[in-house]
């Protein structure tokens, strides 16, 4: 009986840790470290995600402008209105499974929101923050 409980807990722990990282993100984390990033911090990622920057026409924008306030729900492109699948890997299993795709969107979206590319440190923090969702 006791053994069963231990096994169950172990399985649940495994399952939660599996949801928090993918082979793709593991690879990216080590790449970012090799590029000079230190440890990664979800809280720092959270703050940067919600930081408002100056967008077009005097409006401010942040990642939430397109991805929405609830990362478990769909977002909407601020110009074209195209639906963006939820960012949270807990509801969207396809998220963060393709390193090339992650890097592609970091490049584009950092340029659009921050008007520059993100550093390895910033990208790792964003990922850490998002993987918990």
């Amino acid at each position: 009986m006791k053994l069963q409980k231990i096994v169950m807990t172990a399985c649940m722990l495994l399952a939660t840790s599996a949801a928090m990282a993918t082979p793709a993100t593991d690879g990216l984390f080590s790449r970012y470290k090799a590029q000079g990033a230190a440890g990664f911090d979800a809280a720092r990622g959270d703050k940067a995600w919600h930081k408002e920057t100056q967008g077009e026409d005097g409006q401010t924008m942040s990642c939430s402008t397109c991805h929405g306030k609830d990362l478990g729900k769909e977002g909407k492109h601020h110009k074209t209105g195209k639906v963006i699948a939820p960012m949270a890997p807990s509801v969207n299993k396809d998220r963060f499974t393709d390193a090339k795709k992650i890097e592609k969107w970091f490049k584009r979206n950092c340029n659009d929101v921050l008007a520059r590319e993100c550093t390895a440190q910033e990208k790792g923090d964003y990922l850490k923050f998002l993987l918990d969702k």
Partner: protein, 187 residues
């Protein structure tokens, strides 16, 4: 006698035209097919659908001439794609460029693409589909309040907001449904 001459001329013209028609498919298949060639060739390229379609309608290559696609699908141009960074890796960009150029309006035998090709044959290559003379003319009776003043439309660029079959390359009037205005006899 004169009629025979005319027929011969017509036949000759058709035959010489067949060379370029091969770009799309067999000319004789095209000749006997009256239904498939009316609109715009639907997208039949997975990467095109994925890459273009992740931000907006994956506009069919047949909506712009090759010279326009050549300008748009360029590394530098994509870094500022109407104000957004739409950069692609080299291999993907190359493949999409080839697909666009091979299926551009001036290479297509679909009726609507032919008209777009004609309208853009001279002068500067338009970067926006809505700048094509033919497309402008087709929308001349669509008022500002249906587009800009319509919170569910906002811009003429979002074809599929009103053209319910835009994704299939169908743009005829019968398939139009303008949000808050309705079908094509809205006035």
């Amino acid at each position: 006698m004169r009629n025979t001459f005319k027929t011969a001329l017509l036949a000759a013209a058709l035959l010489t035209g067949s060379g370029s028609a091969m770009a799309e498919e067999n000319f004789f298949l095209w000749l006997v097919n009256f239904t498939r060639q009316k609109e715009v060739q639907p997208v039949d390229n997975k990467a095109w659908n994925e890459e273009c379609g992740s931000c907006h309608l994956a506009y069919q290559p047949g909506l712009l001439p090759g010279k326009s696609w050549a300008k748009l699908l360029d590394e530098k141009a994509l870094a500022d794609h109407f104000g957004e960074d739409a950069s692609l890796d080299d291999d993907t960009l190359k493949a999409l460029r080839v697909y666009a150029l091979e299926n551009a309006a001036d290479k297509s035998w679909h009726k609507r693409s032919r008209k777009i090709a004609q309208a853009t044959a001279d002068g500067e290559a338009p970067l926006r589909i809505v700048e094509v003379r033919y497309i402008k003319r087709k929308h001349h009776d669509i008022t500002e309040k249906m587009i800009k003043g319509n919170k569910d439309v906002k811009s003429l660029s979002y074809c599929n907001t009103c053209h319910t079959k835009a994704e299939e390359g169908i743009y005829d009037e019968d398939t139009v449904d303008i949000p808050n205005f309705g079908g094509h006899d809205y006035d």
